[in-house]
Symmetry: D2
Subunit: 429 residues, 4 copies
């Protein structure tokens, strides 16, 4: 039942040890180093990486826990199935802000490496993909714009115009993550290359590769997510006559929209699996707290309401995990497109589940649950933004309903009361 391959089972074992022996013990230290670091002198909005992260990366790589996310073969890399990787991703979510990056499996680099692996030229791969896979540089994905609804990518207005041997980029972007890391060197930007042409609406955009230090690239300000921002979070930036060589286009011109869709599929499922791991962690913290805390003469864990929280959390997590593993299995067997409705389904179900579980855990901790003393507050902020990132819940629900209606229309035959008496198809599960 959702059985792991032997290779994945080994990795799960290695991973469990890595978390216990290296990652969990590093959490407080990472929080402290991050809090202590200031901006890199002379580089506005750039901050150095906490040193402990580089140590974790080295350990992870030595253990073979490296680039496991990548579903495409690259030299030295044999891909895992979505189902196999899902279990690894869940475990990495138990330390949501350390483990994925330590394993070179964190957004936005993961999606960018996928893009380069699928669509990059040998030269582009050599220059950008190789060091990304080695974890020596970082990247950003530059798509969302403040002035248009980002849930419909065809609205994007930043221009990427051809001028001789160069592309010239002009526009304003926001919610760009990763760009303020010290070793961020690559921006993958989506813009309009054919604004007035004959191409259909979804064929007018392209992606270009922009070195981070190209003149005209400006970080305007940091954006907060709740109160969080400095290191790992988001910025608003402008591109003012930014020029890159013609060879810096990624894939074919006009294929930007299609490539952006391809980028999203595995990303969403990895995201969901990580949130399941985060929810598991929250349950453990909740139980540990409830075991050790006494109020009004009773240990918290002996209060009926707290036991109800624990039980509901277990019931909700297990359903969400199975739903996500099932979706991963569908992606492996029928493909990402045929699994689109289920991908939307987990995108709605899992972050909302994680929100509820983490909220309960926080409540058992009192004020401390919202502070930096436990990973709960960061997880809480993360679950909240994920309900909007990569498409808000409402858009995904619409997608699920559309699929459901199409299945119904394909299957029903009329019957008394104007009611479908029979669906010819079996449920997919």
């Amino acid at each position: 039942m959702f059985d792991l391959t032997p290779r994945a089972a080994d990795l799960v074992g290695t991973m469990t040890g890595f978390l216990a022996d290296h990652v969990y013990p590093a959490e407080s230290l990472h929080e402290e180093q991050q809090a202590a670091a200031g901006e890199t002198p002379g580089e506005q909005h750039r901050r150095p990486q906490p040193a402990v992260m580089e140590e974790l990366k080295k350990t992870a790589r030595d253990l073979g826990l490296w680039n496991l996310f990548l579903p495409h073969p690259e030299p030295g890399h044999e891909p895992l199935s979505n189902l196999d990787y899902a279990r690894i991703a869940e475990l990495s979510g138990r330390s949501l802000h350390l483990a994925p990056e330590a394993m070179n499996c964190s957004a936005p680099d993961t999606g960018n490496m996928e893009l380069l692996s699928m669509f990059g030229t040998p030269e582009q791969k050599q220059r950008w993909l190789r060091p990304l896979l080695d974890g020596v540089i970082r990247s950003a994905y530059v798509m969302t714009e403040p002035l248009v609804a980002s849930s419909d990518a065809s609205n994007i207005e930043t221009t990427v115009e051809r001028d001789g041997d160069e592309w010239v980029v002009n526009g304003r972007k926001w919610w760009i993550s990763g760009v303020n890391r010290a070793n961020c060197e690559l921006l993958i930007l989506m813009g309009v290359t054919d604004p007035d042409g004959d191409a259909p609406r979804h064929g007018r955009h392209s992606m270009v590769l922009i070195p981070r230090d190209t003149p005209g690239v400006t970080v305007e300000r940091d954006l907060q997510v709740l109160g969080y921002n400095p290191f790992e979070s988001h910025v608003e930036m402008t591109f003012d006559d930014v020029r890159v060589p013609a060879a810096n286009i990624l894939g074919d011109p006009g294929r930007g929209f299609a490539m952006s869709q391809a980028r999203l599929g595995p990303g969403r499922i990895h995201h969901c699996m990580r949130m399941i791991g985060a929810a598991e962690r929250a349950v453990e913290l909740m139980i540990a707290r409830a075991r050790s805390r006494t109020t009004f003469g009773t240990t918290l864990v002996d209060q009926g309401v707290v036991r109800e929280w624990i039980a509901d959390s277990r019931i909700e997590i297990d359903q969400a995990r199975l739903y996500t593993l099932y979706t991963a299995h569908l992606m492996d067997t029928v493909g990402n497109r045929a699994a689109a409705s289920e991908i939307s389904g987990i995108k709605v179900a899992v972050p909302n589940m994680a929100s509820r579980v983490v909220d309960r855990a926080i409540q058992t901790f009192g004020g401390g649950g919202l502070s930096q003393d436990y990973p709960l507050a960061r997880i809480y902020a993360e679950t909240r933004i994920v309900r909007m990132a990569d498409g808000p819940d409402e858009v995904h629900r619409r997608g699920v309903a559309r699929t459901e209606l199409a299945r119904f229309d394909a299957a029903t035959t009329p019957a008394p009361h104007g009611v479908a008496a029979h669906l010819a198809h079996l449920p997919r599960i």
Copy 2:
């Protein structure tokens, strides 16, 4: 992924046709025949079976859709795994009040046949099990009592005393279903056989087989479930010096509690699977209604709120189905006892899910949704009572929490902040 065996796949196909060709078309007729029937003359609280049910039973048996629930081998019966049967049970739940009975797979007979199959003597099997398996007689299970909390079976007070070659039964029972059917001939009753003995608390009860027409057996009144009762529902009854031969004890004396527990396991999972089928049916009815109904100039199905209902229903059903299939798989592989927490989990999750889904479906139908014109109202009543039957949600949540705490205690090692930094065990899923 949760793959069916070839035999089960065949049965699913047969079942689908049976529903479409025979069961759905019979639903209105069954409702009418049931409404038209009065009590059997001279037999208070007995009503005849609607004729259409006997026809459906014949068809089902001809098609091989018969006794599929039974997990034990009997002459002419080769059992299905829990996982295989789960898919059949789901389909039968699409016509919750007809299909299970038509297939000889309806409570309380299923549990009673299991008891007889597991614990009956050859003579008992010959006299009771054979005609039950043939669907020519029906039975009732007589456990719950009005004066004690039924969620703890060891509270039961009805006495079963030895007097020479007979057992003498005295007591009051309620929520007994099936006893008012015309062909009900057997009562399996649980009572105290060793009230003051040295046996431990859970070793004092036994089960006895009581012919329905034994003197002293009286149906006192019908019990309603919401407004429903006459045919398929529940009664309160008394046993006043009811005498049966010594040979009518089922299994060993003092094993009543253990046998009652054994009876519940598969019953719960079948129950949950049927509710999933019922929820699927409700979604189909909801979509059909929403497709055809216009208010304020808009088809219901084009209203955002209705689409949200459809999407949430799909998301919730698929999670519940996977959770239940997973539990069936656990029962097949690690056994009912080791799957106890998951069995409790689905018992909480599935009926609540079905309640929400059916409630939305009813809302799309307006008043008709609560009437006899659609199966929704009966499903709604069923989902409500199931949240209490076989243990209320609150008791099952306690069980899940207890398991969770035991796992935590077994796995944790202390860490900074008094918080468990690591769970040695992997999640079971």
Copy 3:
């Protein structure tokens, strides 16, 4: 704060005694008499009133608890304000299926008496209103039709055509309540009197008064509400060339829609207040049960989850009561039309609140909570149908949102970020 007038305070006192001394003790008897009664011989779908109800009516009338609902002056009747009556209605809801009728304050007669009081001619009042006010006859309100969406009254298709000195009625109606009571003598029917005329869409309907025994009036079948139906509930009926004198029109021709709207306002608020009383009763039953029941060694009332149910019920009831009293106050001071949004608001909030409270109460009772042994099951069915009756929740939410948007548009001035920086109006509360 929401102070009662002295007269209303007296009535509340009288009412409290009436409930304690007469109504609560009669509940079981009424249930039994109702269950025992058959159809009136020779009169299909007619059943006699339980005798205990006539006794309660006599007592209520003697105590001055009679016709208190009527907001219009009639001979011998001085109206109460909505705010005053709200408190009486709440108390009557504590015995939802007895007290309102015992006080001649039950639907559909209340709305019908209002219509006759407002729009009836002296002759119509003499013939129909007088005996209705005296409680010696009963009536039905015949509006909803099975083939059109009833939440938009202008859809109604039953024809009321002029033929000489008569109106001729043809059509099919359903969800008609009260028509199967033994002493029901009047039907107030809404139909189309000007199907093709020049009148605007909402000016084509009229109401006519039809004696119950007019030829052509046929009760086709009983409709169930969650299994309930025989006595107090709903039927489907046809009108086949039903002829009544021209004088039997109520109010002006073409004013049917407007009159139907006028009928609904106070009805909704009384309905909500009764549901608050029903919820209070459910809390009392829940506490009484929880005080007296022990499971697993603990009294239910000492379990944290049950205490949470009690607290949440109190918090939700008190908010709902205040909201409803406030709405009554608005109706008294600014009028029903200006209070339309709040009337919609309570119509959504109160039945949903009552559903939750009653559901919790049922859960504390186990199976008995769904049976006829307690009033909870009937209340539960009632709360469910009220979420659709007089407009489903979804329609009322739309009304509230529309009002909210209109207030916003009237009040805002543009500001930075395109966000309203200021609302000129104060909140109404």
Copy 4:
């Protein structure tokens, strides 16, 4: 109906103008000044006040919007009733992070001024209360400790020992707010003055007044609340042989617990009213956004789901406001102690309501809703922490349930089925 006095009505009018003309326009500026400010040189954990706040304070004072919270008469101050002030507090909550402080009505200073007004000696009032009332100094309230459950104040362990003419304070405290403001000069600390004495458990604590710069007072670190902290938020601090004169005790020794309870009552209701104002603001922002934003060809405000959010928000806010006003009225008429259950009730109901409303508003804004561009993210963080501050929801629910059970026990008389057939008391509302 909850009528304002003429004075309060005037203040509401003034307040409305103040918000529109001064506060809303200052919000962005305040956010920027706050972000730009660093720590005060040489004073770790001290930051200067944004300049715009001092301007707002001056304007508010000139307008008479000053110290309105204070329920006790002081020279130049005539108190408002709780009901009157509730309306003012609501309006101030519309700009939750500016208006209360601008009006000298923000925690923790408000509670501290109350304590000094009620229990201070003339000298203490002269030295501390006067400048606090003038808004020239700020204060902190030092109660919660990291090592004990803070929801039970009698657990507090910090020692306040008498040594000659001085009190000597030793201990560790956290979640202390306000202490890092530039002009914070007073700490009111609660500790144990009689650890081993004969005093009952709730008679062992006292409060002492500690100048902020007393040797031995150390701010150890900032505590985050969902990523927020630097300026307005919380710290952990230690007291190491901190010595203050004997005259610095507040009120009588041993009365600390009682004074801390007295401090909480009005604070909770003001808090709730502000959250209602914050929720109103969120609805306005939600509507403004939904009016102006188009996705997939539809304006957000025309999507059914968004309209449902708007309607539910209005329905929930109005209920919460009435509940809070009613509680204020009870406090004014029967006193804080007799209103304890309702105070607990609003403490549960209002922050949860505000959480739901703000969550919906954020969802309409996409990522921006969680950023610093709108006040929503800060409100969201505030609503979350308030579900734990001043007692978590679970503790307040227990209080409500306890009151409910006591009322039931006082009122019921036994009846058939062991169920209370009658409650003699009327509901309080």
